[in-house]
Amino acid sequence: MVYLTRKIEFAAAHLYHNPALSADENRRIFGKCNNPHGHGHNYTLEVTVAGEPDPVTGMVLDLKALKGILEREITDRMDHRFLNYEVAELKGLIPTCENVARVIWNLLEPKIPQGRLYRVRLYESPDLFADCYRTEAGAN
């Protein structure tokens, strides 16, 4: 098995707010991430696909194809957008690194034409990231 990783970057705004909680609770739990007009990050996304290299092409997956998928599914949807308001898949979810990584997984998994999606790693900053994997049993 070979693991192929491609990286993209996008810039987006978000804020953390749970309408089921009081203003004080939101402030206590989310701190400055709860500021009402939002804030932004330069996100870095690393997508890893696992597979056996094709005997003819030597490729797990054509990188050009993967680049196109990432641009269509992620960059076009999220780059220079406000995640809470402009990304339909995040409606009703707090756009934490964990939740955005999982949404990205769901967007990409059915689009990967060869090999299988192994890991989505989303960096919100160089010091904070979330890794999403598929698990057989669904156990955590």
């Binding site: 904070l128 890794d131 698990t135 669904g138 955590n140």
Partner: protein, 145 residues
Amino acid sequence: MDAGYYLELGRRYRFAASHRLYSPRLSEEENRRIYGKCANPYGHGHNYTVEVRFTGTVDPETGMIVNLADLDAFVNERVVEPFDHRSLQDDVAVFRSVVPTTENLCREIFERLKSFPKARLKAVRVEETSNNSFEYAGDSEGKER
């Protein structure tokens, strides 16, 4: 909500510390041969980066595996504060009897963080320089997903 997914949260911290690689169980010549300039008597230093990965259930109320304020407070108290701007073999008790290689440092940091009550520690990766890094996932290898 998490059925079918496995999520980890990763966070990086930094500290600067000095160390000397020298084992009293070895001769001067052996220390010199094995550790080279890392055995120089007054020690030397690095800017260390510690990457930790935790897993747990994503709380539907917050969208988080763990609140970063809680995690940062724990790691700062257990690791960053006691190690930053210190001499590892002089100022950190365990390294008076264990050579402060980054392998051993990685294991010590894992031991210090594994009792975090709000999420499960999966792995600790320490970068000694931008060219060297070491990862420890506990004796169970931390691979059960």
